[in-house]
């Protein structure tokens, strides 16, 4: 079977999925930066991407392909040079509380306790709420990520996984409609990473799968396990969307079981083929010498 046919089979729509209202609409987005010398550097070019409400989408690609730049355009941290991003019907002009962000390097404020890190975000986004309501909201979100007993610790006293759970609790606490995660688990070891995936899906599930999650990653297994669709970027500069691969694995997914499903292996191969050119030294033209 050719890879193209394979994708066609996987693209068979599942009931209900196509009727999702649009959450994020990226329209003809091109992002260029002024280069340090003269001239401009184009990071991504002519990106069109529509993401439904409650969908989990991973953006995958090689380092420097502009995945984070695209993410920053959705978050409002970076302004597109051309085109626009629409989130829930509104044009993105800057960062906003409707989009919660989890940064790659946690970005917790090291002088504030776990509790305060979440509280200050809640306080900034919901100034109308009473102190008691805000405190309850923070406590509830910290309990969801099992960090309530560590609420008085400073970020420096936490492990990487705990830091990232704090950052996720912070993003969830402001109750955004969209959650943007920029390589959130990149710095974690494989075991911690696996439990963080479950943690993230649990939170998404508890919220009736209503939050749209966009995640940048370069981990193929992670992308398949979490997402409904995987957006594969071409190499930069002027990166474009190379292909969008649907992941039609049933939910809830079991990390141990899904890897044996034929669909999983097909998708995994497809993504590997898209991302990696050479699979052994022989592909590099080097003869193996025992």
């Amino acid at each position: 079977m050719t890879p193209d046919k394979l994708v066609d089979i996987l693209n068979t729509p599942i009931p209900g999925k196509t009727r999702r209202p649009v959450s994020i609409d990226v329209k003809d987005v091109t992002i260029s930066f002024k280069a340090s010398g003269k001239g401009v550097f184009t990071a991504v070019k002519d990106i069109n991407l529509s993401i439904g409400k409650g969908e989990i989408v991973c953006i995958i690609g090689h380092s420097g392909c502009g995945k984070s730049t695209l993410m920053n355009a959705i978050s409002g941290m970076v302004k597109p040079s051309q085109g626009e991003v629409i989130v829930d019907g509104n044009r993105v002009t800057g960062p906003g509380p409707d989009r919660g962000i989890v940064f790659q390097n946690y970005s917790l404020l090291p002088w504030l306790t776990v509790y305060k890190n979440v509280y200050e975000a809640v306080d900034a986004v919901m100034p109308g709420k009473s102190a008691k309501e805000k405190a309850e909201l923070v406590a509830e979100n910290l309990k969801m990520v099992n960090l309530y007993q560590h609420k008085d610790k400073l970020p420096g006293q936490l492990s990487g996984g705990m830091k990232q759970r704090t950052a996720i609790a912070r993003a969830f606490a402001i109750n955004p409609s969209v959650l943007l995660l920029d390589e959130p688990f990149g710095a974690l070891d494989a075991l911690t990473k696996a439990s963080m995936h479950i943690e993230l899906l649990k939170l998404w599930n508890l919220d009736h799968r209503s939050k749209t999650i966009v995640m940048v990653t370069h981990d193929i297994e992670e992308a398949i396990f979490l997402s409904d669709r995987v957006v594969v970027m071409s190499d930069g500069p002027a990166a474009t969307i190379r292909e969008i691969v649907d992941i039609n694995l049933p939910r809830p997914r079991n990390k141990k079981d899904i890897v044996h499903l034929p669909e999983y292996m097909d998708v995994h191969d497809r993504l590997l083929n898209l991302l990696i050119k050479n699979f052994s030294i022989e592909d590099e033209g080097v003869e193996y010498q025992p």
Binding site: S75, M77, G94, P95, G96, P97, G100, I101, F103, N105, S107, L109, P110, W111, L112, E120, A121, D123, A124, V125, L154, G156, Q157, R170, I174
Partner: protein
């Protein structure tokens, strides 16, 4: 159980004693070479001990105990230091936070920073019509630079990550200042204050020599006029020890506000 006497603790005490002995040895040597013209440690100690017997006596304007002299110097240093910091910290925040502020103020700072405290003294006299005001003025104006520069540096070096947190969660300017910018810059500011108090303490002696009246600097000058080198050497020791204590104080403050490695 925690050991009270650790090897490294005992060793550092031994080194401290060694360093004192080294000082006393060199001092005795210099004293011997000058034929006791510069008094040795023993002669100085006698006078020093006598001074400490009644440090707070007050026999009129030109004859006060060392405690009173020292206390008035410390008060002066802190008022000058306080005024200087009050100017330096906001200006530093401004310089660090805005490129325009940096470009506008930096040349000014670079020109005024190396000016000797003594050069400012006549201006102080002119402005305040009194030597007291002039002394506080020169302390303020010479001690504010390290705080200013360190604050500006601290603020301008804030990592993009922390700024992004403020942006992503829509922090108000006030929240950004109090929860992100100032906590981040605080260790830098305290480092600046620590350098500043050191300079302020150095300037006080020169300032009080010019202004006269009361204070440790005046005491040194007065002892020179009274030809009591023992008193001058005692005063030097006191100035050194108080300077060390001030530094330790700010060092403790520095450790208190450090957020990393807690």
């Amino acid at each position: 159980m925690k050991k009270i006497f650790s090897v490294s603790g005992a060793l550092s005490i031994a080194y401290f004693i060694g360093s004192i002995l080294l000082l006393l040895g060199l001092w005795s040597l210099v004293s011997a070479f000058t034929g006791q013209e510069i008094p040795g440690p023993a002669a100085t100690w006698t006078v020093f001990y006598e001074m400490l017997q009644d440090p707070f006596y007050d026999y009129g304007p030109n004859d006060k105990g060392i405690g009173i002299q020292l206390w008035s110097s410390i008060k002066r240093v802190f008022s000058g230091f306080f005024i200087g910091s009050l100017v330096a910290i906001p200006l530093g925040l401004l310089m660090g936070a805005s490129k325009t502020g940096m470009r506008l103020l930096n040349p000014l700072v670079q020109v005024l920073r190396p000016v000797s405290p003594l050069a400012w003294f006549p201006l102080g006299l002119l402005a305040f019509k009194a030597s007291e005001g002039a002394t506080v003025f020169i302390i303020a104006i010479t001690s504010l630079w390290p705080t200013l520069i360190n604050t500006a540096f601290g603020v301008s070096s804030i990592p993009q990550d922390f700024r992004n947190v403020g942006k992503a969660f829509g922090f108000s300017t006030w929240k950004y200042l109090t929860k992100i910018l100032i906590p981040y810059a605080l260790p830098h500011i305290i480092t600046g204050l620590r350098l500043s108090i050191g300079i302020a303490w150095m300037v006080i002696v020169a300032g009080e020599m010019l202004s006269g009246g009361i204070g440790i600097g005046f005491f040194v000058w007065d002892s020179w006029n009274g030809l009591s080198l023992e008193k001058i050497l005692s005063a030097i020791l006191i100035i050194g020890i108080v300077g060390l204590l001030l530094d330790k104080l700010f060092n403790a403050l520095q450790r208190f506000v450090a957020y990393e490695g807690k």
